[in-house]
Symmetry: D2
Amino acid sequence: MLRGLSSAGLGALESQEQLIRLAGKYGFQAVDLDAAALVRQYGAEGARALLAENGVVIGSIGLSVEWRTTEEAFLKGLEELSAVAASARELGCTRCCTYILPSTDHKTAHFMVLATRRLRTCAQILGAYGISLGLEFVGPHHLRTRWSNPFIWTVEETLDWISCIGEPNVGLLYDSYHWYTNGLNVNDIVKLSPDQIIHVHLNDAPDVPVEEALDNGRLYPGEGVIDLAGFLKALHEIGYRGPVTQEILSAETPAGTPEELAQRSKAGYDKVFSAAGLMA
Amino acid sequence: MLRGLSSAGLGALESQEQLIRLAGKYGFQAVDLDAAALVRQYGAEGARALLAENGVVIGSIGLSVEWRTTEEAFLKGLEELSAVAASARELGCTRCCTYILPSTDHKTAHFMVLATRRLRTCAQILGAYGISLGLEFVGPHHLRTRWSNPFIWTVEETLDWISCIGEPNVGLLYDSYHWYTNGLNVNDIVKLSPDQIIHVHLNDAPDVPVEEALDNGRLYPGEGVIDLAGFLKALHEIGYRGPVTQEILSAETPAGTPEELAQRSKAGYDKVFSAAGLMA
Amino acid sequence: MLRGLSSAGLGALESQEQLIRLAGKYGFQAVDLDAAALVRQYGAEGARALLAENGVVIGSIGLSVEWRTTEEAFLKGLEELSAVAASARELGCTRCCTYILPSTDHKTAHFMVLATRRLRTCAQILGAYGISLGLEFVGPHHLRTRWSNPFIWTVEETLDWISCIGEPNVGLLYDSYHWYTNGLNVNDIVKLSPDQIIHVHLNDAPDVPVEEALDNGRLYPGEGVIDLAGFLKALHEIGYRGPVTQEILSAETPAGTPEELAQRSKAGYDKVFSAAGLMA
Amino acid sequence: MLRGLSSAGLGALESQEQLIRLAGKYGFQAVDLDAAALVRQYGAEGARALLAENGVVIGSIGLSVEWRTTEEAFLKGLEELSAVAASARELGCTRCCTYILPSTDHKTAHFMVLATRRLRTCAQILGAYGISLGLEFVGPHHLRTRWSNPFIWTVEETLDWISCIGEPNVGLLYDSYHWYTNGLNVNDIVKLSPDQIIHVHLNDAPDVPVEEALDNGRLYPGEGVIDLAGFLKALHEIGYRGPVTQEILSAETPAGTPEELAQRSKAGYDKVFSAAGLMA
């Protein structure tokens, strides 16, 4: 598995380049970032060189298309997706991810119809460029009633949705925080096959009742109560070998410089990977 | 357009053969029935002869697969679908229909996922045999709250669902009763193209507030308040040339012999087709 | 049906605007052109106004993506397709077409695999914007052996390919020249349904043995030997109501000014539409 | 990986039960057989017990549908596929395989269209029952010119075809004999991901020029010249953990009783698995 960093948890980063340099410096092998922006800034060759000299690959880009609101917004975003996918492909990136909010103010059935169709179109375009689409189920309980109607949040529902979308390049984004807040354990991971998992996020949770763990109340790996060693071991056991990326969503920007926070992230990763018996 | 009869509205029919004979006798050109049962009883050749000598074709068969409950029930039903489709094909039938209940006791989003996947599989199998799948939106207001969660019932939602299912052979079953109970008018038909409509049902409604029209409170064409002349004219105008089949769902079996009820159906069809300027 | 003009057959046009103006002036209701270029030049609003004031709509755009050569060329072209489709949609255009060469220097089976996948992706993107993809079978005999290996050129093969591509928005571009060079007659049209036909081309052929009719040896409608009255009548009979666009491919630019050639086109259309009993 | 046996190479077996018993007795963990026939004979429960008491699972069933000839033959076979898939599912089998002949007497492009559509439909039905479809590329050179027109036989072409079919449950059946006759080596395996491989066949080849290795001239593993240790190591390295099934196609039935041949198969498997460092 590849240790991965995203900007979430590194404080006030000045640039994507800083993220890449910090990742390389602190032993991470992957970064989640905006590949198209990187290509715009450095050119494809320059971006590849920047990644290579820091020893990192791109773990995943985020899905830039707005699939949750109006058809016009969706189609507007879709205009850019091919070019975004082409940029990602130029940099060797094979993953693109988006998250599923567990409730909605839309009429549920109709929204599911629209969301299915839209995400299928996104997957089809991404697939042409060799890129997979990871769907992130979202566990925190407070979000299930944040909007009027319940949507979906369990692994089983999400796998059924992936099957319904029906494209070969769609799978799960498996985040330890959502695994935990869904009340899952290692057995729930072990029964999966690695090709069902496109991408992995690694985050920890505070010592509060699981129902009270907030989506933006995440902790650095190893600083909380989630059995991250078990999480990582189970993923390794089933054969998952992709990136495992930190994404610390928090109400306030964490204190410390990006450098300090990268160091802190490294310490957390060392701790939980070591506990999982996965130190290289 | 082809005038069509189904067993719904003909009282205590003794057999499918009786339906076919009555349809032929009273000037109908199509019947909705169970093609596989007809082939089992008469053989393909015998069934074709029976239809031919009465001057009728099969308008549509019903979708025999249970797609609304458990996965096991679905897969069980799916085992028969290819053979059912093959029977229909042997008799020249190119349509298969199912209806969409406007509310559900299932969790809405997850049910939509399962229903989409299941209906797509059905459409794929039917498509191999040259058969289209018609989805009937259901308008009566009382059914929208009959089960815990609203599902879908409008034409727009149903067309979006058809697009989401994504197979070329899926379209609407357009029933005048649901057109009426959805508060639609001829303009809503005129903006469709004929290939969006797989099949048509013709029924009338009692003179009660539209919100109180019950799904099983239907009247014979021409005996109620729906503008069936406008309905038929609009369908003809956009180029629809398929069957228009009566389906009188009622709380009690209508009084009279099948023969009398077929005669009454003919009178109703004559009245509304004539009002629409569509008498051959 | 809408009479349509393309630039092919109008000589040395100065601009797309000229095509639009000539179409309007000589009684055509549709033009095939490059919608994205029109939007770039006039803006969406300006382009819509230009079309409206000349009383024409866009019949079809051409598929801008190179699907016949390398994967890189395909992906490069695909980057633009969403924006191209969005422009077409802004101008109310719902058709995009490409032609199928009847032989190939590629290994046939593998090329069919790649072509199927690529055209499906194009259809999926176009479909998101409400645009259909028309595939033009190409009949002239000399092209069947122009490259090393035979590909496909009959209507039946093309319909099977459309079914194999499997998207609801794919159908035929039916060109009278290919109908003629394939040795087809009105019965071959009458057995189609209108939704199988996305777009129609109208051209005439010289009085040479059909095997010798060259792809770039086309004549103006009514100036050759094809039964264009029968062709048009059959299309009208099955319910086709879309554009019927002239596309005079010729070895040399036809003599005369665009104005004169538009006038000549009008005369040809008048002649064959009149013979078909289709003068408004 | 699971060692697997099929009837091919075991001589004159009396029954599927004998295959199961011999597999269990000689240390194989999987058998390729006709699951539907097994269920018909023993019932689902009886068949499961028979498999369990011999310590074997079903590796794969063969695709029973005729997809290579007429549409009628295809549709006829399709009628049974759902029930066949249901039987396989009842016995825990998740794989179904078919092979691709490298040449054809059909018109190549059209045949590819039909084959793609038909195999997609098969994959869709199998997928509903949780079963994957493995496509076996076929390497022996003599078959490339056995029929009039070349079709496909390389891994790359087959992967492109799988992508063209477009269903998530389709992948390769990777046979060591076809790997060898295609001139491939371990690097060609290492670049695959395990989810691209549905099933594996293990066979050896005689010491003749590779161009002369006949499809029905296969040897027992370890008795020929193929680097089966490298083959197995590479598959294990990429994470493949499914069945590896012997399928000795030969011009004449091999000498010896089924018991002797099973013993010989075991010796061969021991030899090559041991050489690969894969003895449990």
